[in-house]
Symmetry: C2
Subunit: 369 residues, 2 copies
């Protein structure tokens, strides 16, 4: 039994979570706000943040250059600017991309003079990252409760995860209302990402009694909403989804993710498939391969029973919701598999996928007939 | 839905948890070790701690004066000594009494010059408590993962809880082996305490999605062991019990406890009934009264179903395991109820007990025939 536990982020959850706990936003004298162009404004989160900062007389700089699949170099640039304006803490607002980027920016800001790739080298990051606050506006990433920051390398084709024990957000404000403005498609995709976290965490050999509980709770709430395939998401559903996404983020903070994550990176980077849908494409394969092992079969059965479904229905619904229609030549497949075959996630489930099997899976889904 | 979360303690769980994570013991230059006369030595925990401190060249002072139901004044004395020897961190080793005491001692040590009762006054405790490490040698209290410190007031008859947001242990080392030397009776009593935490937390109106998961996990493991009424506790059972006790401690760190806790204090303080058994005496009443409310009835049914039993069996087994045989005159009952009727716990469940009902319950259990 593994009952170890570590989750240093303080999570304030619920409507008006930020306003009602505003003192916890005041971590310094000048805030560097990391976000994208749209969701921080559309969600109302940025307005809430700047109102509270104003009330406390805390100055701030808004850096709204974060796009999907945030480039390492944008974070490097952000870190430079944060240091230049004298920021002493960072607030990330948005989906996974701004939240992940805010961790890297907090690290660069505290370590001026290092090169972009040095962020992956603990020996070169001598100073702890700036204190960090995370405010999600999607219900998917879980980035607000872990220390992962998935960045796009300068080649523009590969992702590499920056992890640092001091890159945990100190505080997360999780307000379901900040997700109300999210489109239907983005809601489904981010919910599929959260479901992938729950399932892949539950099957991980690193899972603990606590990550399991969080994963099962998350999966049940997500399945309850997703299996209805609702035409519109009610406030109640939004609340279920974001509570689940945060719980699933806690689960992967313990275990990391499984192979659907790297398998999906190529079709995200090269073909523009949103991350959550790109993971869900491979959910059926993930279940099927893991069912080949005794342990995997038992775990998947228990997981499905807990959420009130069957492995068969999961295999059908998850890729179905992703609804990805791509077709590739052998050469295109070769390029995509080569980009992802080096990830560590393949060993993070009862079944360990071989490179040959990655090709098989890609061909089965995408080979031009 | 409440999905807020805060648990700043890093928990290392498992056999050799301390030895394998020994760097996390090194929080300062001089450790003040707070413990009792026996369990720290018998369990092997003290030897592990002093070996690691020696390895790091960290000096220490052992304060082994903590007895059951630790007096506020002993903690005051310990705090003075800790300051005098120049301790800059505190290590609590033992059951609930040394762990609770270590929090108060860490607070007194950092706030020399205050009076004993000033510990309950946030305005007078100006300095944050010394950094604290908790190492449980019983599977019950959960004190290693919360910020509660239940102390006996100078009158020797009442308990009062010291709570401080900076009194959370920084680190907890939870090694099931440290409970191997615990007697059968103490194992049952402390397991009953943990079960009371799980049940009372689950019924609390302050429960969150995370405290619920922790409470249900804990209750299932505890019930699995306790309902067998084993003549001996195997290492596997010890592991189940201590994982559960830690999880139940997490649950009450969110919610606090319900009325069996204060109801039991009088028969612990005046009649020497161990704390866990004293709570379990009133478990049947707690279930019965809460079943009078619609919410309470539904919650108890869900709790019982999750752990694979029925409310009826819980009502029989828990007081049965406590096996407390006391009898009092009306005057003795009056004295005992007066000591406990001021607690806040009575409002912490769907059913709120009146003082008249406290008398009824005490009479039903204990009135001399």
């Amino acid at each position: 039994m593994n009952a170890s536990f570590y989750l240093p982020t303080r999570v304030f959850f619920g409507e008006r979570a930020l306003i009602e706990n505003k003192k916890s936003l005041a971590l310094g004298k000048h805030a560097f706000i990391v976000t994208g162009k749209h969701s921080a404004i559309a969600s109302g989160a940025l307005a809430d943040v700047t109102a509270v900062l104003g009330e406390f007389g805390i100055s701030y700089t808004v850096f709204d250059k974060i796009q999907e699949n945030p480039p390492l170099l944008t974070c490097f640039e952000g870190g430079k600017l944060a240091a230049k304006v004298g920021a002493d803490f960072v607030i990330g607002i948005g989906g996974g991309s701004p939240l992940d980027a805010s961790k890297a920016i907090a690290a660069f800001a505290a370590n001026q003079g290092i090169e972009p790739m040095d962020i992956y080298d603990e020996a070169k990051r001598k100073n702890p990252t700036l204190p960090l606050i995370a405010i999600p506006t999607t219900a998917g990433t879980g980035s607000e409760v872990n220390y992962y920051s998935v960045l796009t390398l300068p080649d523009g084709e590969r992702k590499k995860t920056f992890k640092a024990s001091d890159a945990w957000p100190r505080v997360a404000f999780v307000d379901p209302r900040y997700t109300y403005s999210l489109s239907h498609g983005s809601t489904v995709s981010t919910a599929l990402d959260a479901f992938a976290h729950a399932l892949e965490s539950y099957l991980s050999p690193k899972s603990t009694v606590f990550s399991e509980q969080a994963a099962l709770f998350a999966a049940k709430e997500l399945w309850d909403v997703l299996s209805q395939a609702p035409a519109q998401f009610t406030p109640e559903m939004r609340e279920q989804l974001i509570a689940a996404a945060t719980a699933a983020g806690m689960a992967i903070s313990v275990t990391g993710t499984g192979f659907p994550h790297p398998m999906g990176y190529s079709i995200t980077m090269l073909d523009g498939i949103p991350h959550g849908k790109a993971c869900a494409v491979f959910a059926g394969d993930y279940i099927e391969y893991n069912e080949k092992t005794e342990l995997g079969k038992a775990r998947i059965a228990a997981f499905a029973a807990h959420i009130g479904t069957t492995p068969k229905l999961m295999k059908a619904l998850l890729p179905g919701l992703a609804n990805v229609d791509l077709s590739f030549t052998e050469e295109e497949i070769d390029r995509r598999v080569k980009l992802i075959c080096g990830a560590g996630n393949y060993t993070n489930s009862p079944y360990v996928l071989s490179p040959d099997e990655m090709y098989e899976i890609y061909r089965a889904h995408f080979l031009k007939k």
